[in-house]
Point group: C2
Chain length 275, copies 2
């Protein structure tokens, strides 16, 4: 059952904490170590048994044979060089960041055994209090190896996610970022942009439609600023495409083009039903 001796999780929030809980539940490591800037997070993570040991200092990870970055993207990019100085030879490194190209390019240079991961789990909630052991069960985890990726490390990371209940799919980092710009980043941006313009006095009339559409707008602002800025090019292209389509719809509305409008709505409906 055991895959690792010591697993170190840097960032013990919703995903990091859930990783700790599920790795321990499945007995995939002898020991799980958590790193957080916040004492309270470490206290809560220990209390909920997401980690066996926690510290604010990164040096606590020195004996780990797996390090998982579970912080916002920019914090991953910033901490990577520090982590590289501490870990022991042979230590595998992965992350759970929502954009992959920038991370993989940089971390491939810094680590010999880096494998990029992106579990499509979690929600707009954040923090250890929302962590739970079954979050990855029946979810999808995207693995984004590059030409430099160590194949043994990739196999081991793939096994880790499988054991946690996730179905793994391999995508190149570039392809990952392009897919996610449509399936996740653009929907978030539309939700942010929508809530920004609804006049405040109208918000009391919000029905379940607006609420569902904008649930993800409650996502962590720092996390999402990082995601957007590290996938800027793809996101701008997706926005351009979206704007073109919105213009088309606007024209159809202005012309009272019932036929075209119905066709667009029908297509959206059948795609939604297939999701």
């Amino acid at each position: 059952m055991r895959l690792f001796n010591q697993v170190a999780i840097i960032g013990v929030g919703l995903i990091g904490g859930s990783l700790g809980l599920s790795i321990k539940k499945k007995r995939l490591a002898d020991k799980v170590i958590g790193v957080s800037r916040h004492k309270k997070t470490l206290f809560l993570a220990k209390k909920s048994r997401a980690i066996d040991e926690g510290a604010q200092e990164i040096k606590v990870i020195k004996d780990a044979d797996l390090v998982i970055f579970a912080t916002p993207v920019n914090t991953i990019l910033k901490l990577a060089p520090l982590v590289a100085k501490i870990i022991k030879p042979g230590c595998i490194v992965t992350d759970v960041g929502s954009t992959k190209k920038e991370i993989v390019v940089k971390l491939d240079k810094i680590f010999k055994q880096f494998v990029g991961s992106h579990p499509l789990a979690g929600s707009e909630k954040r923090g250890i209090l929302y962590a739970h052991a079954d979050i990855f069960k029946d979810s999808l985890c995207l693995l984004t190896p590059s030409k430099k990726t160590n194949l043994a490390a990739l196999a081991k990371i793939k096994k880790l996610w499988s054991r946690l209940g996730a179905k793994t799919v391999i995508l190149s980092p570039e392809n990952h970022d392009q897919v996610l710009s449509f399936t996740s980043h653009l929907p978030h941006i539309l939700a942010f942009a929508l809530l920004d313009i609804v006049p405040a006095r109208y918000l009391g009339f919000a029905s379940s439609g607006l609420k569902d559409t904008t649930r993800i707008a409650a996502s962590d602002s720092q996390l999402w600023t990082d995601i957007i800025l590290t996938n800027a090019k793809n996101i701008i292209q997706a926005i351009d495409l979206f704007e073109g389509n919105l213009e088309k719809m606007k024209k159809a509305i202005r012309r009272q083009d019932r036929k075209l409008l119905f066709k667009i709505l029908k297509k959206a409906k059948s795609r939604r039903e297939a999701l």
Copy 2:
């Protein structure tokens, strides 16, 4: 408890059927009559006791003292003159259409005792099979009287919705359509437009974010074509405002303007949390 002798519901779908169920549950009428084009709908509505009697011919409503239009907007506009020829003097008429200005202007001319209603209930589902008696409980129902509205009829319709558990709010038809263009119609349009451009091969990677954001895109295409085309002016204005904001975000992304982007995301987050 009884408010009406006979209530006739034209269109026995999700909302019409739920009205029948809840009016009967609360014993607000001696008899509920349903009108539908579809024999099967009438059969199901009778079987589920949403209606006491049903017919495909509109003449069945001749003895009603309340007629409720619960069809798509354009069908309401089309059927109103026919209904006017059949109903008895003193019969109150209301509707549950999602846009109000066009309906109120037209039905005010046709009926002496018309009161526009818009219950903010329902979902992307449609049809009598999804109807249930408690759909209006703790919901909001917008009433849209005009200068011509008979005040006794307004009071009675207000009482009807209150008895069904809804909180009623009075808005002018114009104001209603403007509010809804932001809180409901624009979110729907964004969901339709988004699903239209996500490349089909990416749909398998949809996470809960995309799913939630586009749930309403599965709404009935005919119903929504009607809604959009009868609130075209407001919707186009809302789209314009949205596009301007999206442009602002796109520029911030292109410039890697972390500060502005964070500010927009933070505002959206706090607004969403206040919903």
